[in-house]
Amino acid sequence: MAKTRVPAVEGMFTMDPDDPHLIGAKIAGRDSYFFPCHLAGGDPGVAGPAQLEEVELSSRGTVWSYTTSDYPPPPPFVVNTDPYQPITVAAVQLHTEKMVILGQVVEGYGPDDLHVGQEMKLALDVLYEDDDNEYMVWKWRPTDPIESELR
């Protein structure tokens, strides 16, 4: 029986497998965005309590930088492979919101496949699993050259 796909943490991203989005906070009437929504910061240009709206953030951006974790991170990270396979992490600046978002890079890409300024798109992928569920998270995926040309 197929496992149930559930978000690793509720409310931080949409679960559309083909076009997932991070769920951020936006200050009403301003281009001020925060992620995640439930830990939004403030904008000192707003007097008094800000009106926060929940919004789906754009899903494309360019690589600000990238790295790896060659050793398994400690809990609460869940090591999903035995032996541990080093993960690749990218910091990507969203085109629209001009904010940098961290995320793992999907399997198959290492630091040699990435460079600052490279185009990336948000993906939905398995973070870890147990007997019943697959716990999902956002990751970054390089857009292939053809897809970039079509933009």
Partner: protein
């Protein structure tokens, strides 16, 4: 801003001693009091830097150290600001002195650290950014260090050997520092052959969390003069600024930066603003600096600080390193103590240890690692949650 005098400094050597942090802090405090020639009963304010890894006594560190020294009825306070905790505790003490609430204060920080990655508190805690970054991304501290290092390579053409040379340089300094955790001189091959932790950084590029303790006795300038300190090293500026919105540089422990879409980014970025603010208080600038202690959480981050403290333009740090400018004997030695990579890192004590080292340097008491003729020194430091600090000292 008025200056205060550094009357005495003290330290328990950095290492992996596995003992109670209170022992390190008390050792350092006694050494600082003796160095200052100040009787403990004359100290009117105890300013503790907090450790979050040693239970309740660590949260009330000011009181813990005061009791260990023998409660003397002084005022007390404890400060936590991640890696900047020591500087924050120093700033609190300065405020007490300059307001006239006390004449002499002691600032103490100490830590006992576990082996391996620093990790968040246990439990299922999605409301804690520090928990989320480990759980959802596996973003350890070295992951953030790796991001900054890799960006230097892609933007400025830095090489992994440049990063390794920072470690080599700093280990040549710490060989002459009996309080350092590592007193072995490392070569390029040692770094090259150490395992990759977060590409492009290897194990020997990354700071080693350690046990240690540091203490500083500070006073008003009037008290210093009246007690025979005619030309003390002085604290001329302290900065513990927060970032200015929008801060678009990704850093610990966040999953996202602020957004630069609606509000223009500030002219001076966060890390640059840390030094700027301390220079401004001191009425000094980068050209006045003779020696610096900067926070090399990774070797590559030391290079970032050269630029962020105004020692060179963006992208020129590697040249400064390669030309030997930042080695002892060069024009502007950086991390004569050995820095975090070779001296070691004991979080709440580290910003104080930086000031201790500069005090010895400005007094001409640094022995074989002495920076000749040093009159002005600057520290820089940065930690989690928008904390950072810089202290300018002068003679």
């Amino acid at each position: 801003m008025d200056e205060i005098a550094i009357l005495g400094v003290g330290m328990h050597p950095w290492g992996k001693w596995g003992r109670n942090f209170v022992e390190y802090g008390t050792h350092a405090a006694h050494e600082a009091l003796a160095d200052a020639g100040v009787d403990w009963n004359d100290v009117g304010f105890v300013s503790g830097a907090i450790t979050v890894r040693c239970g309740y006594p660590g949260y009330v560190s000011g009181s813990t150290f005061a009791r260990a020294l023998g409660f003397n009825g002084s005022q007390v306070s404890s400060s936590y600001a991640a890696c900047a905790s020591g500087a924050t505790a120093l700033q609190v003490a300065r405020g007490q002195i300059l307001s006239g609430a006390c004449d002499v204060a002691i600032v103490v920080g100490a830590d006992t650290t576990p082996k391996g990655f620093l990790a968040p508190n246990a439990g299922d805690r999605p409301d804690d950014m520090d928990w989320l970054r480990f759980h959802l991304v596996g973003a350890t501290n070295p992951v953030y260090f790796g991001l900054h290092a890799r960006r230097r390579m892609d933007l400025y053409g830095a090489t992994t050997d440049d990063f390794a040379m920072v470690k080599v340089k700093n280990s040549r300094h710490s060989v002459h520092n009996e309080r350092a955790r590592f007193t072995k001189e490392y070569g390029l091959d040692d770094v090259r052959n150490s395992p990759v932790v977060s590409n492009p950084l290897r194990l020997l590029d990354i700071c080693a969390t350690s046990d240690g303790g540091a203490a500083i006795v500070v006073s008003s300038m009037d008290y210093a003069k009246a007690h025979g300190h005619s030309d003390p090293v002085r604290v001329a500026g302290i900065s513990t600024v927060t970032p200015t919105y929008p801060d678009t540089m990704i850093d610990l422990p966040y999953l996202a930066t602020d957004s630069g879409a609606g509000t223009p980014e500030p002219e001076v970025g966060f890390k640059e603003s840390i030094g700027h603010s301390a220079y401004a208080e001191a009425g000094l600038g980068p050209d006045d600096v003779d020696v610096a202690e900067v926070y090399d959480l990774s070797s590559a981050l030391e290079l970032d600080w050269y630029e962020q403290l105004g020692f060179c333009a963006s992208g020129d740090a590697e040249k400064l390193l390669r030309d030997g400018v930042t080695t002892i004997g060069g024009r502007l030695p950086v991390n004569p103590s050995g820095g975090l990579g070779a001296f070691g890192e004991a979080v709440p004590a580290q910003a104080l240890a930086q000031v201790c080292e500069l005090t010895w340097q400005l007094r001409g008491e640094a022995g074989a690692r002495q920076v000749e003729g040093a009159r002005v020194g600057v520290t820089a430091n940065q930690g989690l949650f928008g904390h950072g600090s810089s202290v300018v000292v002068r003679r």
